[in-house]
Each structure stands twice: as structure tokens, then as C-alpha cells.
Amino acid sequence: MARLFIVEDDASLRENLVRMLKLKGHECLCCESFANAAVEALAACPDCILLDLSLPGAYGHEICRSIRQGSNVPIIVLTSSDSEFDEVMSMNVGADDYVVKPYRPAALLARIDRALARSGSADPARGCLEHGGVSLDPVRAEVSYRGKSVELSRNELLILRILMENAGSIISRSELMDELWQTDAFVDDNTLTVNVNRLRRSLQSAGVPDDFITTRRGLGYVIR
């Protein structure tokens, strides 16, 4: 769990961002006054700062520069401008990453995780998933059941991770495919079936009960 400081003027986007980040286990603080954004950000001692560039009465680049002068905290710029100027400028004033709106939530989370890992403030225990005796460490890409490790391919690991992260909800086949596509594994419907079946067999051979991953016909897969 990391402490994130958010500088974003759009109230609706801010609320949704905070809600999503909190669900993923992050602690969120929001900027109250944009004129003092840099001071507030430094006072909050966050692990990572999410900064919008276009703010009322303040310049995102200026805030970024002021924060960088006082701290080495990772800064991720979130903006709706895809201009090269803004991107280069952000990097010049000390931003670590540049994400253009609208962004995929998963992509943003991955960038936050990467920024945290680079700055060394990532919690090593964070991200370990455990369900029904099966534990998964996404950072080390290790799966084990009752102390016995299970060998999984990259796609199988990703499928298992998504299902375990959302244990209890039905994940549709297209959602799984979408997540796989985001990692450049452009699987089609048949390949996904093969991957899921192979994942089941691997888990079964380690002794995981047959019904660990349940198929809901026409809906998708679920881990209960």
C-alpha cells in the first residue's frame, strides 16, 4: 500500500480516481488549493504524486518543478494534452512519467507500481494474492498451493491473477482477452479456451480442487 498525492481539478475524475486507487489498496490524498499544490504535496510526504497539467490558477509544469526542487518523489503527469511540447516539458521539469487521458485504469496502476518500484517505496508484500489455499505473487510470477509450487505460462499466470484479483465476480471471456491483449498476447477465442483449460490442468495436478475456477456458461469464469 502506497501513499498517493493527487492534483486534479475535475471533481468527478478525482473522485473516481481516488475510489479506484483505494480499491487497489492505495491511500489517497488530494490537493486542496492549486496555488499551494507544491507546498501541500511536499507536506503530505507521499510515495508518488499524480499531477494534472491544466489547473485553474496554476501551471502544472511549475508545480512539478517546485516539487522536484524539494523532493525526489516520483511524479506521474496525467493530462488530456497529447502534444509533444507538454510531454518533453514535463520530463524537463522532473516528471517521471506522462500518461494521456483517457487512460486504461490497468495501465495507470501498472505505471504507478513501476514508479513505486523504481523509487524503492514499493511494499514487497503488496500484490500477493491468496484464495482457497492458492497463493500468487505477481512480482515474482510464482504460484503455489499448500507450499507446492505450480509452473504456469505467462498467459495462464495473467488469467489466474485477474480471476484472483476479482475473486467472487464473474469475469467475461472478452475481459480476459482484453487484459491479455494489453500485454501484446493477441489471443483469440480458441486460444483463450486452450489457455484456461491448461491453467485448470496445471492447478489440478498440484492438487487444487476441480471447481477452483468455475465456468459460467455464456458469462465467463469465476473463482469463489
Binding site: D10, N16, R19, M20, E84, D188
Partner: protein, 392 residues
């Protein structure tokens, strides 16, 4: 593929290479104002012969005058040598008047004539030419100056309006992106078929908003380019990732046959947009498989290029519609029945390709599929490319 084929008009037509199996392009595209026209138009050049012909009335009058004077002199008993001398003097005087008039106006009219061949410069005419000394020339000159200034003012006002409009669209697009981002975050932890449908709708809004931005930018395309060396396979994969939900929703399988080492000189954002329009069309019109294939053509020659062919097994385009796929606002018979077509996607793609010096070719057979081939010239330095942008 033996169907119909359409090439987008490119500034360098040598870049669009048709494969030997392809039939000749149905339509070569709008032809540029042909230089040959000049041979057909009536003689306009300000030569002495032409000048004389236009002064035929004066010459005729002089001849008549000489005849009359000679007649009078003959009747009043002047001798032949006196008549000849007076006639010669009159002829010399008339010739000198004609020659003087020609020489005095020659520079102005010859320069004026040059402008007939470059209408785009006609507005600046009065600031380049000196005012002629003759009465008619001076009036014409002033009329041209006033007209040129009016045209320039009009043009400046229009381009200011357009720039403002473009700025507004850009601002609007950026503002629209914030609520889209917000809505996507709000959906991020919800699962189920209804939510997926909403996600799909959001993607469609995003894609349309993006198209509006690219349309606004296409007017000032050369300012928006940043040409870099980019990995072709990575470009194709990124375009697929970004449109994953539309493609998965349509049940499309992807096949990649792109040489991983190939690098192309192009603008990342625009190329992503162009590939994206092709992918969205494929998904919209029944494709189940989309295959990416790269080919290096004529390597080592000045026409050398890298071709990215994006082929699908969708509904295809009726032969009658193929020649018009790049036309602005053209939706075709299938597009109209789908009610989703704007007719802007491929048009913008063709405009961008023409400006960037890339080739774009569509070949299709109804019922079999469509292949869009995008060609990137190899043998081009950045400067070469930049020169192309400023002239187009």
C-alpha cells in the same frame, strides 16, 4: 486479390507500388493542374508580333494616312521623290511610336503575363510589379492592387477563423477526454455484460472524439508532424491494443507476419490513427481475421519502400464504391445501411498519408475481404521529408 483497387493520391506517385497481380487503379485520383494546358491556350505572351496585331487599327490608319497624304501631294503636283520622302518620314514616325509604346510597356506586361501561370501568387502581384507609366496600365495596376489586398484580407480573416475554430476543437476534445477518463475509472471495478457494453460505448465515444481532433489537425498537418524512426511491428501492436475491445467484441483474430526488425520513418500519432481507422473499419464490416504483413519492396533503389498490408476477410467493398473510399464523407451503400459510418476515417487517413509522403492503397473484393496497404518510403532523409511537407 483480384477485386477493385484504389490508391490515394500521393504527392510522389512513385511511392505507391502496385503489385503485379493487382489490376490497374480504377481511378488515378484527381489530376493536378496539368502543365500541358499551357500549350492549348491562345498565345498570350507579350511579343512584338502580338503587340503589332493588337495595334492593327493604328497601323491601318497610318497606312491610310500615308496614302491620303501621297494622293494630295500627287494632285497638287509634288514630285515623286518628295512624296516618297514624306511617306517614309510618316512611316518612320509611326514605327517609332509603335516601338516606343511596345518597349515602354514590355516589362510590366511580360511580368504580368507570368502571373497567369501562377494564380496562387496573383494576390502579391501589385507588391512585386512597378506601377506602369501609361494611363491604362496605371488604372489596371491600381485595380489589381485593390483586388489583391481584398483577397489577402479575406484570406487572412478566413485563416484566423479557421485557426480559432481549430483551437476551439482541440480545447473541446481535451475537455471531453476528462469525463471519459472519469467514466472509465468509475467502471474499472465493475464486471459483467452490461458494464462491458457501457465500456464499448465509451470506447466508441473516445474514438469519435479522437477523430474530431485529427480532423481539426489535418488542416494544419505539417505543423503537427514529428517524424521519427519507429518499429513497424510495435506500431501495429499498439494500434491493436488500443482498439482491443472493439476488435474482441467483433470476434476478430489477429495474425502478425511483420518483420520485427523493420523500422519506418513516420509520425507515431498519425500512423496509429491511420492503422486504427483501418482496424475499426474491418471490425465494423464483418472481419473475423485481420492479418498484418510486411514486405520490403525495391530495396536499394530510390523507390524502395516498406509496405504494411492489413488484410481482412470481411464483407469487402462493392466494386463501384472502391474508387470513392477516400472521398470525404463517402459512406458507400454498406456504410449507409450500417448507420455508423461517418465517411471521414479513410478520408483523413488518405490526407495524412499524402502529406507525410506515405502511400495508401485499398483493394477489395465483395464477399472476400479488403486489404489496405500502407507504404513507407525507405530512402528518405528527414530533410527530404520536411521539404515535402512544406510544399504540399
Amino acid at each position: 486479390m483480384n477485386g477493385s483497387i484504389r490508391e490515394s493520391p500521393t504527392p510522389a506517385s512513385s511511392l505507391s507500388t502496385a503489385s503485379p497481380h493487382d489490376p490497374a487503379p480504377v481511378s488515378p485520383g484527381p489530376t493536378p493542374p496539368a502543365a500541358d494546358d499551357r500549350a492549348d491556350r491562345p498565345e498570350r505572351a507579350y511579343s512584338f508580333g502580338a503587340y503589332l496585331r493588337s495595334r492593327a487599327g493604328f497601323a491601318f490608319g497610318v497606312v491610310a494616312l500615308i496614302a491620303v497624304v501621297a494622293g494630295i501631294m500627287a494632285v497638287t503636283g509634288s514630285n515623286a521623290s518628295a512624296i516618297a520622302l514624306v511617306s517614309l518620314c510618316e512611316a518612320l514616325f509611326a514605327s517609332a511610336t509603335l516601338a516606343g509604346g511596345f518597349l515602354r510597356d514590355r516589362e510590366f506586361y511580360q511580368q504580368l503575363d507570368l502571373f497567369c501561370d501562377s494564380p496562387e501568387n496573383a494576390r502579391y502581384l501589385s507588391s512585386i510589379l512597378d506601377e506602369p507609366r501609361t494611363l491604362e496600365g496605371s488604372i489596371a495596376y491600381r485595380a489589381l492592387a485593390v483586388q489583391g489586398k481584398a483577397a489577402s484580407d479575406e484570406l487572412a480573416a478566413r485563416s484566423r477563423d479557421m485557426k480559432e475554430y481549430r483551437n476551439y476543437i482541440e480545447l473541446w476534445v481535451h475537455e471531453a477526454k476528462t469525463p471519459i477518463a472519469s467514466a472509465q475509472l468509475a467502471l474499472s471495478n465493475l464486471h459483467g455484460p452490461e458494464i462491458n457494453k457501457v465500456r464499448g460505448d465509451l470506447d466508441r465515444i473516445e474514438s469519435r472524439v479522437e477523430q474530431a481532433l485529427y480532423y481539426a489537425r489535418s488542416a494544419t498537418l505539417s505543423e503537427d508532424f514529428s517524424i521519427e524512426k519507429l518499429n513497424l511491428a510495435a506500431l501495429a501492436r499498439k494500434a491493436c491494443r488500443q482498439r482491443s475491445r472493439a476488435l474482441i467484441g467483433a470476434g476478430v483474430s489477429l495474425e502478425f507476419a511483420i518483420d520485427e526488425t523493420l523500422e519506418v520513418l513516420t509520425d507515431a500519432k498519425w500512423t496509429d490513427f491511420i492503422i486504427g481507422q483501418v482496424l475499426e473499419n474491418s471490425a465494423k464490416y464483418g472481419a473475423k481475421t485481420i492479418r498484418f504483413e510486411s514486405t520490403v519492396k525495391d530495396a536499394g533503389t530510390k523507390d524502395g519502400c516498406i509496405e504494411l498490408a492489413i488484410g481482412d476477410d470481411g464483407d469487402g467493398i462493392p466494386a463501384a464504391d472502391v474508387p470513392r473510399v477516400f472521398d470525404r464523407g463517402f459512406t458507400g451503400s454498406r456504410g449507409r445501411t450500417h448507420h455508423k459510418a461517418t465517411g471521414m476515417g479513410l478520408h483523413l487517413a488518405a490526407v495524412a498519408c499524402a502529406r507525410m509522403g506515405l502511400g495508401l492503397r485499398v483493394s477489395s473484393e465483395e464477399g472476400t475481404g479488403t486489404t489496405v496497404a500502407l507504404t513507407f518510403p525507405i530512402d528518405r532523409t528527414r530533410m527530404d521529408l520536411a521539404a515535402n511537407l512544406t510544399t504540399s
